[in-house]
């Protein structure tokens, strides 16, 4: 077999590992070499942990296969807003540049317990605030399909790493689309689970009522495998759901979508969206219909208000959550003449522009005299957005829509225009506001060769049906098998960026 080991999916790698045809050390070495070859161009990683990765790989090779270690020997990456014991977790921020957490996030601990290998930490917009990974305080990540373009965000490093073959799968976090939108831009699968399904313990808080850890993978089967490992009740997260959960990989055994009712929301096909995106999503809908699904046109009438609701609620929660960065217990301290001046100087120097902008916006929305007009009003409209979905899921099993209105934009194109940047998330925000689940998977390419994402949205705990529909579509198409034009031949070129 002449396949490149770094190019394997997780389920392919598992078979080779279990058959003893490949060792975890060989697989990890292949990934580390791949990172060396392409990451100067892609810049997906903030921190690499090759020594501990190889130590974990040797341990994996010494332990026998077991049902308790479904990820034995599988090299993965973790977004840098998720805590990893003893490994820097900067959140893409100067204020946490030298922070190494004393514990693992629950999701990370579960991956490790399942036998996974941690290759390193991936780049993201500072504190997950952004849609392009350009808000990282360290450097932007580049889209593997076109290095002059953004990978999306905020989990842009994780999406780019999966797309470029720099890991077999990755964790991300999704507060308003931060797993699904970069998955769409990078041509990979990105799943945002139902709020409460995956523990947030050790996920550095941005907007606590919206944040959810999700997974990025090369195909739907891999996403199901990763979710099965990380999902489930955790007493360390009071918002973690305590409910029996399925093995999500068994949801994929249904090989058809006959009789599945697919809602097509008119508000997700709007003037101004890229015509190739609309065409690809409409073609995917036609394919689902041909595969036996029933298309049901429907309306989610408050979709248009999701953007202002999100940009009041998320910054309000962020302004409270980020109050903890005061230069006292961890992170940067910029001394001032008084304690209060120390707080101000530390935060003024430690936070980047977008984080300050959102703290300011959130503080304003929560301040005396404006709370009712902005924050409370947004929470009420959030109820209307949830009710739209409640009504939709009385009629349909899933809702299918584009993930983002355009393909990946150029680096620098939107950095100085926050509203324009925020618009790339208009099709993903509502899912977080409603607390439901959604997946993005590749459904085509535009004429510039950039991937287009299809979003399948399900109700609360609707992951099995969402993954089944996504899997059936994926298996009927070949988009997920395309790889970006990166290669060892590129490693000779000068660095960009």
């Amino acid at each position: 077999m002449t396949v490149d080991l770094w190019d394997l999916s997780i389920h392919q790698a598992r078979r080779l590992l279990e058959a003893g045809e490949v060792s975890a050390v060989e697989l990890t070495d292949a990934l580390l070499e791949r990172i060396l070859a392409v990451d100067n161009d892609v810049k997906a990683y903030l921190t690499l942990t090759p020594e501990t990765a190889l130590a974990q790989a040797r341990a994996a090779d010494e332990s026998p296969p077991s049902p308790n270690t479904p990820l034995r020997g599988i090299p993965l990456a973790v977004k840098d807003v998720i805590c990893t014991e003893g490994v820097p977790t900067t959140c893409g921020s100067r204020i946490l540049e030298h922070f190494a957490p004393p514990y693992d996030a629950t999701a990370v601990a579960r991956l490790k317990a399942a036998g996974a290998i941690l290759l390193g930490k991936t780049n993201n917009d500072e504190f997950a605030m952004g849609s392009s990974t350009e808000n990282s305080a360290f450097f932007p990540t580049h889209n593997p399909w076109d290095l002059s373009r953004v990978p999306g965000g905020s989990s842009g490093g994780s999406a780019a790493a999966v797309s470029a073959g720099e890991c077999l799968g990755a964790l991300g976090s999704d507060t308003g689309g931060s797993v699904r939108q970069p998955a769409a831009f990078c041509g990979v699968v990105g799943l945002k689970p139902t709020y409460g399904l995956v523990s947030r313990y050790g996920l550095v808080a941005f907007a606590s009522s919206l944040d959810q850890i999700g997974v990025l993978a090369k195909d739907v089967a891999d996403a199901a495998l990763l979710l099965t490992v990380i999902a489930g009740h955790d007493p360390l997260d009071a918002t973690s759901l305590n409910t029996p959960l399925p093995d999500y990989t068994t949801a994929l055994l249904h090989s058809d979508v006959r009789g599945v009712r697919v809602g097509v929301p008119q508000e997700y096909f709007i003037p101004g969206m890229q015509s190739e995106v609309e065409a690809a999503v409409r073609a995917a809908l036609a394919q689902l219909e041909a595969l036996g699904a029933t298309l049901v046109p429907l309306s989610l009438p408050h979709t248009d208000y999701a953007l202002p609701v999100y940009y009041l609620i998320a910054p309000a929660e962020a302004s409270a959550n980020l109050a903890r960065y005061d230069g006292v217990r961890y992170g940067l301290r910029v001394p001032g003449p008084t304690l209060e001046e120390t707080y101000k100087a530390t935060r003024g120097q430690g936070f980047g522009a977008e984080v300050k902008r959102r703290i300011m916006l959130g503080t304003y929305a929560l301040s005396a005299g404006y709370y009712d007009a902005y924050y409370l009003k947004a929470q009420k409209v959030r109820t209307l957005i949830r009710q739209d979905f409640d009504r939709a899921f009385e009629q349909v099993d899933v809702v299918v829509a584009p993930t983002s209105p355009t393909t990946a934009f150029r680096i620098g194109e939107r950095v100085d225009d926050p509203l324009q940047m925020y618009l790339s998330d208009i099709f993903t925000l509502s899912v977080n506001l409603a607390g439901i689940c959604g997946i993005s998977l590749p459904c085509g390419f535009d004429p510039a060769g950039l991937p287009i994402g299809l979003q399948v949205i399900g109700p609360t705990l609707g992951e099995p049906i969402v993954m089944r529909v996504a899997h059936v579509y994926e298996q009927a198409t070949s988009w997920h098998r395309r790889r970006p034009p990166l290669g060892n031949d590129r490693s000779q070129e000068s660095k960009c960026g």
Partner: protein, 102 residues
Amino acid sequence: MALTLQEVEHIADLARLALTDEEKERFREQLSAVLAHAARLEELDTAAISPTATVLPLRNVLRADQPGSPAPREDMLANAPAADKGCFRVPAVWSTTPGTEG
């Protein structure tokens, strides 16, 4: 909804953020634009709608009141910008002579 420079300075003070003059002016413009966009919510009548603070049906999640084993003190202090005698060290909160630490 255009913010004034004084409002920007007041918010920055509430948020404990030191901003440069350039940042204040930029945020004044950008926040005004975002708030103008948010004003669209006024189109909706929400008088009879309850707010959603959380999507979960959970209330008062309690755990057994049993002592556990806390993380070691030295681990918790390992990331501190300044530590002294097992405590976080900060500038004096009350001081008659600003500028002296401890």
